[in-house]
Amino acid sequence: MPTPQPDAMTDSVLVTSDRALWGESLAALLTAAGVRAARFVPTARLTLHLARPVSALVAVAVADAAAVQRAAGQAGAPVVGVGVGTNGAPARGAGVWFALPASADAPLLLDVLHRLGRGEGRSDAPALVGRGPGPEARASASDTTLTRREQEVVALLTEGVGSQDIAERLGISPNTVRSHVQNLLGKLDAGSRLEAVAAAERLLRETVNGSAPVPPPADAAVWVSHPERLLCLALAAGLGRTGRTASACAAPAAELLAQRPGGPELLVVAGPDAPGQVAAVRAGHSELPLLVVGDGDPGELLAAVEAGADGYVTSDAPLSAVFDAADRVRGGEAVVPPEMLSVLLRSLIRRRREEDQATERFSRLSRREREVLALLVAGRDQDEMADALVVSPHTARTHVQNVLRKLRVHSRLEAAALARRHGFLDRFTNGEEASS
């Protein structure tokens, strides 16, 4: 085997994405790692740029993986898909495809690119496929794990969404939803969906409290938080091009801030649970400028604003737009994409109306019925409820029926979701809304 040439892969690495921010950021990461000619090309213009030979094409945040695969195959370019699935049969005319999870670390991506540059892997694809931490997410301090899909199902159950709607929202069949729910009940040792939701919340708290990673360096002006390691590193590299020191967080930012009291000048949060992360940070850092990078979903924008984000940019914006938003947020401005402002204001108005309506319904509950609601949220069944309230099961059932009627919901799960969404139990605990 010839001696590897260190720069063999640096001649022409293209990074392609539907989302300019991720494409530009990953190119910046590769450049920072010594790749001499890593360039971003929007997926829509990929074919044009593949007219010249490239040593590798890195695809990230690409919706139509098959189209990328076809274009690269026709150009004879191997593709490294970062967090882009290639399940199923290869597309017609497809070339070589290596899959890396977005949770992989940067050296793994560089290793794959180096090996491709040396001409390896064209016929031994499996040997080059990165394993990384994989898609399984640890759900508890014990060995219980929930797959990503199961976490999505639990999240929707927590919102009170029924099986049919879960199937539609996740694009899977109702039978598959039922199968996921059965798995969840088994894994969480729960007897009902309500118990499963309560158990999942407990496990999530254990996970959040379970580790103590090292925070970014003290001189880092910008911290970047994203649950997928490679994307987190990429965004930090992209933001680092402003001349400020930007560091990737190795864990949820709220934990790291607790270890570094001074904190950064700006925290940039991205990923599927960005609003949750923002809320966790805001609980202890009310003044820290916070910018969320999202996918442009109106619900995500609303959740980010409600959680306390100072700014929101979409990942289809170029890096320059993120630089601009970062500066404005650090200057004390609130930043919302202009084209999403109307949707945000309408969402806030709708949310406030729902809140007023829910508060009015909650105010109708007697003190006893509020206790029943608290037990429902805790996942207690009828007999456990009767024991806790020192009443007969029949009386407990009557209380439950009254709660459902007064809240105008159709199931115990829906009642619990409503209570969670509007913080009813906190109000009860804090003595608000004097009981009738």
Partner: protein, 97 residues
């Protein structure tokens, strides 16, 4: 000038909106009526005859972390201008000539 907090302004029927890099333009057929910045455009879009001025003030206050008085002043000034441009109606006494 103080608007009625319960007023529910409406967009003038027949106008179309074209989004631009600096906000948007409102047209009546092929005639351009006005150009609006992003905030004014967003408020114009909210004027559906069902949303009250107070609700808009509350939403702007929350979205931009502004004191309610500041948000109210900004929202009212913008709505009055939109009324003067003739692209919304229903502001109550304020949009009377």
């Amino acid at each position: 000038m103080t608007l009625d907090a319960d007023a529910r302004p409406s967009r003038r029927p027949g106008l179309t909106m074209e989004r631009t890099a600096s906000g948007g333009r409102l047209r009546d057929g092929v005639t351009e009526v006005c150009a609006l910045n992003p905030t004014a455009l967003a408020l114009w879009e909210l004027c559906d005859g069902e949303i009250a001025v107070q609700e808009i003030v509350d939403a702007v206050s929350e979205a931009f972390s502004l004191d309610e008085d500041v948000a109210r002043a900004d929202v009212e000034a913008t709505l009055v201008q939109l009324g003067e441009l003739g692209v919304i109606t229903g502001l109550g006494p304020a949009d009377a000539p």
